[in-house]
Amino acid sequence: MNALNPVFKVGDQIGEAIKTHDPKVSNSDVKERVSKLLETVGIEPSRANNYPHEFSGGMRQRALIAMALASDPSLVVADEPGTALDVIVQAQILRLMRDLKDKLGLSMILISHDLSIIAETCEKVAIMYAGRIVEYGNAVSIFKDPKHPYTQGLIKAFPSINGPRVRMTSIPGQPPDLLNPPSGCRFNPRCPYVMDVCKRVEPMLEEHGERGHTVSCHLYH
């Protein structure tokens, strides 16, 4: 939402990304590439002369995607790309990103707090807690067979729109204080299965169950 500079035209901001990486490009070439990029993300190329405030939220997010694609990257990191958007627009943006990923052969790291978006978009998932990866594996395996108590709690905390009405569950306690993280396993103060060893020894990320599914929890070692 606020990632665009309000006092420059959207097209110029995308052009800047092209010129930074390739200073020799002529102005007319930049213009042409900007038009192409806008078309790729589903914006009418004539809108390149608009300022960000003339764009809707979804169009601004599309412009940012165009900017990210300007230098023809092989990896795009998307930090909460749908969080500031309404569900319908969010679904449009996620679909666009998936399509572009397939079309351009991109790799993508999607950062999100919303497990449902991750479930829908990603092939592999790393669950982080207090600065550490606590579980890592392919998406189906993580969602169908979560090993770490934190992952289990997080998945339960997400109400699904399908299925019957139930009382919601949450993980007890507070998110950790990173100035003074708990000793041993960082999740131990909130963990329902906490043992003595959890407070002393930090568990390592090790493979458990399906190949490539790793988890750092003393329950499995």
Binding site: V87, I88, L94, L115, S116, E120, F143, I161, Q174
Partner: protein, 346 residues
């Protein structure tokens, strides 16, 4: 004016409220006039305004949890503020416990304010950073002169803090909001809303600013408080999955209008309005194996200054036909207790 009369006729049948009704609104409307520049005033043509809420009618039963859902800009927050008279309506009527409160002065409203409270979205901004927790929660008591002695104030603050599980209360009374976590702060906001034992609370996106791992416990706390105090609550949320799990009924809003209104199972599992269907199809599902099959509708919510003629959703509706652009569909009951504003059903 034809549509206005139709809407009020329907109103009588919208009373599905069980066990008496706490609140009823009829044809409520809030238009914010747009400020014009000097030249525009001279050349003035038509007065432009943002039609935030336009002819909305519904009622709220005793002990009911009623969700208002919709995209941003659909008017749900404005509607929540209107029913509390925190925003003055342009036209329409608000009945609270059978009494018309639309025209009451602020002085006349004051005793009624005990009965109606609000919980805001952001617990980082809704609590005064320079007040201690005790004073934040005690303020409604003091404003309403409901506690005679200082001991009684402290006693009641402690009691409500225990109810919202900020324990032990003695430890929190003299702290400032910045010393509390987000979840604890929202609990304090809930305590402040419930200390006067209200019969009606508006909660405006109360968990959207909180960490996902603690959202559920705050939601559960609010549901428990509502049940315990036999209060009613209007729960404003853009999260339909959440609304389905906690609300008794859901109203779906679009550009200031209620498009669909029914029990939460009806609205989410058997949606009738094309907009509700599109909204639900767009909600991501936390299951990697259930890939989205339905198409996502295109476009974004139009400007509320110049909403489309006829049905406001027609510009994005896959079933739009000619009648939709000329005639505004009224909210009608198509099945028992299931109201829809769409020409497909009339």
């Amino acid at each position: 004016m034809n549509s206005e009369r139709k809407d009020s006729q329907i109103e009588s049948s919208t009373d599905t409220a069980v066990g008496g009704e706490v609140l009823r609104v009829e044809n409520l409307r809030k238009w914010y006039p747009l400020r014009k520049g000097f030249m525009e005033t001279l050349l003035s043509k038509v007065e432009a305004s943002v039609k935030a809420v336009d002819l909305v009618s519904f009622s709220l039963g005793k002990g009911e949890i009623f969700a208002l859902a919709g995209e941003s800009g659909s008017g749900k927050t404005t509607l929540g503020k209107l029913v509390l008279r925190l925003v003055e309506p342009t036209s329409g009527k608000i009945f609270f416990q059978g009494k018309d409160i639309t025209e009451l002065s602020q002085r006349e409203l004051k005793p009624l304010r005990r009965e109606m409270q609000i919980i805001f979205q952001d617990p980082f901004e809704s609590l005064n950073p320079r007040m201690i927790i005790k004073e934040i929660i005690a303020e409604p008591l003091r404003v309403q002169h409901l506690a005679k002695t200082e001991e009684e104030v402290e006693e009641r603050v402690k009691q409500v803090l225990t109810e919202v599980e900020v324990v032990p209360p003695e430890e929190f009374l003299y702290r400032f909001p910045h010393e509390l976590s987000g979840g604890q702060r929202q609990r304090v906001a809930v305590a402040r809303a419930f200390i006067l034992n209200p019969s009606f609370v508006v909660a405006d996106e109360p968990v959207s600013m909180l960490d996902v791992s603690i959202r559920a416990e705050i939601v559960n706390l609010m549901v428990d408080m509502v049940r315990k105090h036999s209060a009613s609550i209007i729960f404003i949320s853009h999260d339909l999955a959440l609304a389905k799990h906690i609300a008794d009924r859901i109203a779906i809003m679009y550009l200031g209008k209620v498009m669909e209104l029914s029990t939460s199972e009806n609205v989410v599992d058997l949606p009738l309005h094309p907009y509700t269907q599109a909204l639900i199809a767009a909600v991501p599902i936390p299951d990697p194996e259930s890939k989205r099959t339905k198409d996502v509708i295109s476009g974004e919510i139009p400007s509320p200054v110049n909403p489309p003629s006829g049905c406001r959703f027609r510009t994005r509706c896959p079933y739009a036909h000619e009648r939709c652009s000329t005639e505004e569909p009224p909210l009608v009951e198509v099945e028992k207790g299931h109201f829809v504003a769409c020409h497909l059903y009339t």
